[in-house]
């Protein structure tokens, strides 16, 4: 049976995929995981997940180009300039000397 191994390097950090191992059952998987991914104190915790329990999703279509949900969906440069001109604050704005 194949187990995927996730390891946490320090408390508070995310568990990251480290690799996998083959073991006849969970008991052996635990022993092998300790040996292969933890014996040098390089991990504070491990997650062992049978490979078939992992559900992968790898397609994220964006047909409608929903960029209003993202930072790159907004370009405020021109409008901000216009607003500052109108308010008469262009000279004192951050970066105005450049």
């Amino acid at each position: 049976m194949i187990y995927e191994v996730f390891r946490q390097e320090r408390r508070g950090q995310p568990f990251q995929h480290a690799g996998s191992l083959t073991a006849p059952d969970t008991r052996f998987a635990e022993i092998y995981a300790r040996e292969q991914y933890g014996r040098r104190q390089e991990s504070v915790a491990l997650w062992l997940v049978p490979r078939e329990a992992v559900r992968e999703i790898d397609d994220f279509p964006d047909e409608f180009d929903l960029k209003y949900r993202r930072v790159d969906g907004y370009s405020i440069k021109t409008r901000l300039r216009e607003a500052r001109e109108r308010a008469g604050t262009l000279e004192t704005a951050p970066g105005a000397e450049e």
Binding site: A18, G19, L21, T22, P24, D25, R27, E35, Q36, E42
Partner: protein, 300 residues
């Protein structure tokens, strides 16, 4: 080459990485298996020259460090064979091909370790040469292999330091100890120059073509020489190649051309210790076969 393969080739050549479940050309898969399997074999065979020295290591501290290093390397073999298994070749098939002599392992593990000086030179310089290759694998186009290389490189950095410490202890010891190091260096220089392979241009190297490796053989050797020749010379050791010098203008190391035919002979099982090592591996495999049977029976 069909269009899909061409597209795949361009993808990996532009730095793209591939996961286990992704489509890949058969040729890429078989090249990956060949390369990664040989790496796994080398880790497994690489413990044998050092194993010979566990009982003879000069202090308890050295025995413990050597044992830890050997454990690391067997661990690397485990991780690497797992990657090969996911590519379609079972571990038992890898071991069968290894003990039958069909599959290869690195040239440096076909040589005997005559003295404790050899153990130091292996731990320092052979590991240094290996790290040059392994660091270049961090960018391997096959992502699962690149990921485990991170862990492997991390452990190797301790091995180099351990090796350097062994060497420093000997070169600052008695004249006899110093000479043991010099003699070992004389023995190991040729295998070290062979280590990165013949200077085939990167573009003609299939392992580079598919971006399994990210650099050519000669590039790796130059990097090794750049890093380590000064470190060897500063200890007062002499490198047994009168032609070795750096052409400062071109920025490349010049050296006596190694005998590439000899390298080919060594890695095809005709090195001074090849057959003995394979026989030992065969023997230990038979010895522990019962463990596998018991474990699998109990788990079933």
């Amino acid at each position: 080459m069909d269009a899909r393969t061409q597209e795949f080739l361009e993808y990996v050549q532009s730095g793209g990485q591939v996961e286990t479940g992704d489509w890949m050309p058969d040729e890429y898969r078989s090249k990956l298996v060949k390369f990664i399997e040989m790496h796994g074999n080398s880790e497994l065979m690489g413990v044998l020259p050092e194993r010979d020295w566990i009982l003879r290591a000069p202090t308890l501290q050295r025995k413990l460090a050597l044992t830890a290093k050997i454990q690391d390397e067997v661990g690397h073999a485990q991780l690497i064979y797992r990657v090969v298994e996911d590519l379609g070749k079972p571990r038992t098939a890898c071991l069968d091909d290894l003990v039958s002599g069909k599959a290869k392992f690195h040239n440096v593990f076909h040589y005997p370790t005559k003295t404790w000086g050899d153990v130091g030179v292996i731990a320092w310089l052979v590991d240094a040469a290996a790290i040059v290759s392994q660091k270049a694998l961090l960018k391997c186009s096959y992502a699962p292999y690149a990921r485990i290389m991170k862990k492997i490189c991390w452990e190797e950095s301790f091995h180099i330091l351990h090796g350097r410490d062994v060497i420093l202890a000997m070169v600052t010891g008695t004249q006899e100890q110093f000479e043991l190091v010099q003699e070992a260096l004389d023995r190991w220089w040729e295998p070290l120059m062979h280590f990165h392979g013949n200077p085939i241009p990167a573009d003609e190297d299939p392992m580079f073509l598919w971006r399994i490796k990210s650099q050519g053989n000669e590039e790796a050797r130059q990097q090794f020489l750049d890093g380590y020749v000064p470190q060897i010379r500063e200890l007062g050791l002499e490198i047994p190649d009168p032609a070795l010098r750096k052409d400062e203008e071109k920025g490349v190391w010049l050296y006596t051309e190694p005998d590439w035919e000899k390298l080919r002979a060594v890695v095809t099982g005709n090195g001074p210790a090849s057959q003995e090592r394979l026989a030992f591996r065969r023997l230990s495999r038979e010895d522990v076969a019962w463990v596998e049977r018991v474990v699998l029976a109990e788990a079933a």
